[in-house]
Amino acid sequence: MKRIFLLLAVMMIAVSSLSAGVGVGAFGGLAIPLVQDDQDNGTAFGLKARLKAIPLFVIEPYLSFVKYGDKAIDGLIGGEFKGSKVNSYGVDALFGAPMGGPGLKPYFILGAGFFSTKPDETNKVAVDETRLGFSGGFGFDIGFGPTFSIDARGKLNVIPQKDGGSKKSATLTAGATLFLGM
């Protein structure tokens, strides 16, 4: 039900914003597990769209793929935890983000999405499930003319777990966006 509601909300805003143009882009960077002793730093990359909701407020549906690094287990010869894969899709709200245009423009990020954590195939006993998670952070665009910008951002991601607690990570990414129909 939550996923259907999220999808409908994105579609409604997408339709209403088509006349105002749309941005499409990609991003990549570093994924940092926070307070997760069984995971090491890994990679993050994904695709995103940017849709205008109201002035100085845009939304970004995204698709993200994270692969954490393997973590050696202290004191064991050849023992390591395999890095998990975390695939997610969701929507970020960007407060202050532009729809193209030149210059440096900072913004705050608040988002929600569904995070699917899949352990490495050899890690058969770890959790493998999809959970609703939340994100927040800060970023900035550097626009090169009306239709192209690059960006950098940092996000904190929190995925509450079914039995309590949460899995947390940070992502530091850089990306590029092309604005169409501007």
């Binding site: 002793d37 287990i73 023992g79 006993v125 777990q161």
Partner: protein
């Protein structure tokens, strides 16, 4: 920057509050590594029993009152079979307050849960089972996690086959337990 903060102060506060509310930012995933006793099996007694107490481990003690769930349990050990026949190796656990009946192999099986099985060590062979490999031998995962979550449990190592005293031994064994808990 001042203007930015003034303009976007509310969203920033919302973001921070939400993350704190849902995230329990002090929780995390921790790894507890417990040394397990070396042992050799005898011809007359094909099992080895002892009581495991994780509460002696500092990492466990740091989080024992705030454990949300056990993420994973695995093992790392060497097992040596110097006999002329192959031998199987299994691990059975029971709760620390459970009945302990070591009158026979069957009595142990009747009162405990198999959590590690399917490993056969060939005659004259020595095998290092790594953490990653051990996960493939884990059985009854839910029961295993529940038993471990208490921090204390009874451990039974069973080796079945034809061998003389001290011909089948396991050593340098560690249990690797990943725990999600508060700080």
């Amino acid at each position: 920057m001042k203007n930015i903060l003034k303009r976007f102060g509310i969203p920033a506060v919302i973001a921070a509050s939400l993350l704190v509310m849902v995230g329990c930012l002090v929780s995390g995933t921790f790894v507890v590594i417990a040394d397990l006793d070396d042992h050799c099996f005898t011809a007359a007694k094909h099992f080895y029993y002892y009581h495991v107490d994780l509460t002696a481990e500092s990492e466990w003690n740091d989080h024992k009152d705030k454990i949300d769930f056990i993420d994973a349990v695995g093992f790392d050990f060497w097992i040596t079979n110097s006999s002329s026949d192959s031998a199987t190796f299994t691990v059975w656990l029971s709760g620390h307050t459970a009945t302990i009946d070591t009158s026979s192999i069957q009595a142990i099986k009747d009162n405990a849960t198999e959590v590690f099985g399917g490993l056969t060590v060939g005659a004259g062979d020595s095998v290092h089972v790594t953490y990653g490999e051990s996960l493939g031998f884990v059985k009854n995962l839910t029961a295993l996690k529940n038993l471990v979550k208490d921090g204390k449990f009874n451990y039974f190592g069973l080796s079945e086959g034809t061998f003389a005293d001290d011909e089948v031994c396991w050593d340098s064994a560690k249990a690797v337990i990943t725990v999600s808990a508060g700080n």
